[in-house]
């Protein structure tokens, strides 16, 4: 899935932007350049593993302001910030706002590529979890109404007998429904099913 990951580069200096994108491509990473923060915000799509490389100093919306704006919009994307040389205060602020890492400019490409790969990996798991959740939701839709009732009670830890008496059905029928639920939800054990139920409720 690495191959489909996208690196958003935001820098107002066109030559820096161009050089960065070329570097990323030479390292086998796919990049997308944005000359301004606003441009990036309108181009970004979720459900796609990505990261952002931001220049702190930009006319208009600065890197820090963009970070805050992303937080406000709920864009949960790993951010690597590029700061001017020796601008520690700015770097600290960027980290406080939630940047994953910061790179001093000018820097060698290794540090930059390492940070970008880290960021992509982090987002990979985020996207992975997101995909998993949508699969779980899709599986749950396949359950009948009775099966859903049985699942909701079983995951609270009630015994089959109790579940049966609650729903007015026999313990044997509960066992049959439960087996169907396990199959449809692709859960190998009861603890699998409980974990899935928690994730569905929490949306995580």
């Amino acid at each position: 899935m690495i191959s489909t990951a996208l690196v958003h580069v935001v820098d107002d200096d066109p030559s820096v932007l161009d050089a960065l994108l070329l570097l990323l491509r030479s390292a086998g990473l796919e990049g997308q350049g944005h000359p301004s923060a606003e441009d990036f915000l309108s181009a970004w799509r979720p459900h796609h593993p990505a990261c952002a490389v931001l220049d702190v100093k930009m006319p208009g919306m600065s890197g820090l302001e963009l970070q805050r704006e992303m937080k406000r919009r709920g864009i949960d994307l790993p951010v690597v910030v590029i700061t001017g040389h020796g601008d520690v205060a700015m770097a600290v602020q960027a980290l406080k706002v939630g940047a994953l890492d910061f790179i001093e400019k000018p820097c060698d490409e290794e540090a930059l590529l390492l940070a970008v790969r880290d960021a992509l990996a982090q987002d990979q798991s985020r996207v992975g979890r997101m995909v998993e959740l949508s699969e779980l939701r899709a599986r749950r839709i396949l359950l009948t109404e009775r099966e859903r009732e049985v699942m909701d009670l079983v995951v609270t830890g009630l015994l089959n007998k109790v579940v049966g008496s609650r729903l007015g059905i026999s313990e044997r029928t509960v066992e049959i429904h439960k087996a169907k639920v396990m199959h449809k939800m692709e859960a190998r054990t009861l603890s699998d099913l409980i974990r899935m139920s928690i994730r569905l409720e929490g949306g995580v």
Partner: protein, 645 residues
């Protein structure tokens, strides 16, 4: 104190009137001896003095009282010799004359304190003249209306006049002294009975006795001894002495005349002499008093000057014609690190600190290193008339220290500002050079990676070209900075803004044509001189006009650039206006901050440096307006005064 009508309220006026009338009758009674003729005219008559002083203090409105007193006195003491009409008319004349005398003194501004000889002279003259008038009129009445024999007229008149005149001259000064505030009665306690006073009293008594004893047996008028004690008293005690001495002598003579049962005519002669003596001594006393008052004033002034000289924190010394210290104050002694007496009589150049020469001069000196503590002295020497001078020396070390501290503080501030500016510049250079450096690294690394990838050589070569272009860009930035900074030491001269605008426009001709911008100059009439560095001002104007040309590049249709100069006599306003698309709102407020630019690849330094150049010349560079209709910047610079352009 000159006479003013004293305000009289309540019971006081009646009391004063009663006292006056009582005093009048009493004094008339006491001096009622050696009376002559049917009207009992006496050779010493103090009551007119009472009337005169009363009128002097309370004005002419008291005349009826005066008349009443005169008439009452005649009624009581002389039992109204017939005919009554003669007496009434005579009393009328007397009271009118003495009221006139009092008013004359008021009008003449004679001071109740008899402060000057002039006051005394007027008092004596008024006494003589008005008593002459009064007694003449009264005597005439008495003669005409019967009583006084015609053959006795001149004798009566003379006697009458002498009595009244001597009464006034002897008594009035005393009354004025007592009631006029010069010598209030409360001061009596201050008179100490010393040997001199007793001797003076004894001398008067002796003189009086001599006059009578000797004259009784001789035809030779021996009045002159009387002068001696009176002059003695006057010289010693001034006007007060003369007034009291005269009164004492008069009383002594009166008593002697009564005791000796002296002949009335001889007493009159005596009284005539008394009048002359009294007048003479009063003048003498007044002169002595006046001199003493003047002396006291001088002494008081000198005392004030002395305390002032002692008090001032500045060292003062008087230097005589031989260059020696005649007087010095405490402050000078402290400065010289000696006691005042140790300075007196010494050579000024040796003992007075910091004094280098004796001619008038002013200097600020710091004494040589022999001084344990280094101090600054301000020295001035002023010449005095008749040789010598006054040296004024003050320690100004504290002031000098303060000045030095202030100066040091100022230069520290200037240094700090330079460091600040240098720091800002360094940050600017770092940022501007970092951009291409970063690009160069990225391009080079990318090229290295691409070279080892199959089919990547072409792209790698492109990346290397781009890296070179970025290196060139870094070089450009350094060059640009040097261009701006090379003229760090500005050469200030008078620059004509009008000429400058023309030159810059000409310089930009090619750029203007290439960008199809119509440039219009409205530099006003006549030269517009400012003080500044020509090259720097040129850079500022060039920067503003280039910005405008670049801003106009995105505009469709006509492109205009207007440069105008206006002045109000105080300063010149140079406006650079374009009809470009305007500066983005978020940038407009920060246009003058370093790094802020709306141009791709711009340094964001031009306006910042331009503003610092203009502000260094005491002017202002501001964004006047910006919007979709255009942008205008305005430079304000003070008019260069008194310089050629």
């Amino acid at each position: 104190m000159t006479a003013e009508s004293k305000p009289a309220k309540g019971i006081l006026p009646y009391l004063i009137a009663l006292l006056y009338v009582a005093g009048y009758i009493a004094s008339d009674r006491v001096t009622f001896f050696n009376a002559l003729g049917p009207y009992n005219i006496t050779p010493w008559n103090p009551p007119p003095a009472l009337s005169l002083v009363l009128v002097y203090f309370y004005g002419g409105r008291v005349w009826p009282l005066v008349f009443a007193a005169v008439f009452l006195s005649d009624l009581v003491l002389r039992a109204l010799p017939s005919p009554v009409a003669a007496v009434v008319v005579a009393d009328l004349a007397l009271s009118l004359a003495y009221t006139g005398a009092g008013m004359a003194l008021r009008r003449l501004g004679v001071s109740a304190r008899l402060e000057t000889q002039r006051d005394v002279i007027w008092l004596v003259l008024c006494g003589l003249v008005f008593s002459a008038v009064a007694t003449s009129a009264a005597t005439l009445c008495l003669t005409e209306l019967g009583g006084v024999a015609v053959e006795n007229f001149s004798t009566t008149l003379f006697r009458f006049w002498v009595g009244d005149a001597v009464g006034i001259i002897v008594t009035a000064p005393f009354l004025l002294a007592v009631f006029g505030g010069r010598w209030p009665l409360s001061n009596l306690r201050m008179v100490r009975l010393n040997w001199e006073l007793m001797a003076q009293m004894a001398a008067i008594a002796l003189a009086a006795w001599t006059v009578f004893r000797v004259n009784l047996t001789s035809e030779f008028q021996l009045l002159y001894p009387l002068f001696i004690p009176l002059i003695w008293i006057s010289v010693r005690h001034g006007l007060e002495g003369a007034a009291f001495g005269s009164l004492a002598l008069q009383i002594g003579l009166g008593l002697a005349a009564i005791l000796a049962a002296e002949d009335a005519l001889r007493v009159t002669e005596l009284q005539f002499a008394m009048m002359a003596m009294s007048a003479t001594c009063l003048l003498l006393g007044a002169s002595v008093s006046e001199r003493r008052a003047a002396g006291a004033t001088v002494l008081e002034r000198e005392r004030k000057i002395r305390s002032l000289v002692a008090m001032v924190p500045v060292g003062l010394a008087e230097i005589d014609g031989q260059g020696r210290v005649r007087e010095a104050n405490e402050a000078m002694a402290r400065l010289a690190r000696r006691e005042v007496p140790d300075l007196l009589g010494e050579e000024a150049l040796k003992v007075l600190p910091g004094l280098a020469r004796l001619d008038p001069h002013q200097a600020e000196i710091t004494p040589d290193d022999t001084d344990t503590e280094r101090r600054w002295l301000e020295v001035a020497l002023a010449a005095m008339e008749g040789g010598g001078g006054i040296a004024v020396i003050s320690d100004i070390t504290a002031r000098k220290d303060l000045e030095r501290r202030q100066h040091r503080h100022q230069s520290e501030m200037a240094q700090l500002e330079r460091i600040n500016a240098a720091g800002q510049l360094a940050a600017t250079i770092a940022h501007e050079v970092n951009q291409p450096l970063a690009s160069i690294i990225y391009y080079t690394r990318a090229a290295q990676r691409l070279m080892v990838q199959s089919g990547g050589e072409g792209e790698a070569r492109g990346a290397m070209d781009k890296a070179v272009a970025q290196a060139m860009r870094a070089g450009d930035i350094i060059r640009n900075l040097r261009y701006f900074l090379s003229r760090g030491d500005a050469e200030t001269q008078s620059v004509d803004l009008r000429e400058l605008a023309g030159q810059v426009a000409e310089f930009l001709t090619v750029d203007l044509q290439a960008a199809r911008v119509a440039c219009r100059l409205a530099p006003g009439a006549g030269p517009c001189p400012v003080v500044g560095d020509r090259i720097q001002l040129e850079q500022v104007l060039l920067n503003l006009m280039r910005n405008a040309i670049e801003a106009l590049a995105t505009r469709e249709g006509d492109r205009r650039l207007d440069v105008a100069i206006t002045g109000d006599g105080e300063s010149w306003r140079l406006t650079v206006a374009d009809n470009g698309p305007g500066i983005a709102a978020d940038l407009a407020g920060r246009m003058f901050d370093p790094f802020v630019t709306s141009k791709r690849g711009g340094m964001g330094l031009g306006l910042a440096i331009s503003r610092s150049i203009i502000e260094a010349g005491g002017g202002m560079l501001d964004l006047q307006s910006t919007g979709p209709d255009g942008t205008s910047f305005v430079i304000t610079l003070p008019v260069a005064k008194g310089t050629e352009t």
